[in-house]
Symmetry: C2
Subunit: 112 residues, 2 copies
């Protein structure tokens, strides 16, 4: 009920998508490729994750969409809004916090 409590680690797709779009405007298909390449294959968002995520992000006012036909196909370019930029900062903070926590537990006082 609008408690907005994010899922500890969830939201990685959102985080990385926003991060890419903070660099430059991109369209969906391009984002998918950039994500896979840029993460050396570690992050491979299927379209069933990516497109719904983009729509949700736009509906929440974190992205602005701009439709543009190219070579007969339609591309939808997305760009960060100011709110999106703030959201990204918070997500990055949260990522650092949690992943540092995980590293602490993983590294904890033993060796095998």
């Amino acid at each position: 009920m609008s408690k907005g409590n994010p899922n500890l680690m969830s939201g990685v797709p959102e985080l990385v998508v926003l991060r890419l779009l903070a660099r430059q405007e991109m369209y969906g298909y391009e984002i998918a490729r950039a994500l896979k390449l840029g993460s050396r294959g570690a992050l491979d968002l299927g379209e069933g994750v990516l497109y719904p995520a983009l729509h949700a992000l736009e509906a929440r006012g974190l992205l602005r969409a701009r439709s543009q036909p190219v070579d007969g196909r339609t591309r939808i370019y997305y760009a960060l809004t100011a709110r999106g930029r703030r959201r990204l900062e918070r997500l990055i903070e949260n990522w650092r916090h949690v992943s540092a926590g995980v590293e602490l537990i993983l590294g904890a006082t033993n060796r095998e």
Copy 2:
């Protein structure tokens, strides 16, 4: 459908719980505290996450449970099985892989 395809980043609770239990046998309540302290507050699993997770892990044969009354209260101690140990290794690998991927995207070629 038993595709067993894990959720990219999900399974952090499972990862850290198994990691703690790789060090030593612990009971639920203790795990919750150790997790919070050991991660400097970053990881704070509610009991609604922790206990069901422990039961699931036990049902999957990754943990062995041992019930022991202490001071009139009942503690249930959990320990890693061999399968649990193997599972932990895989989860750690996966964590390293994905979190490195996220870092690549976060760090990517720009500055603002």
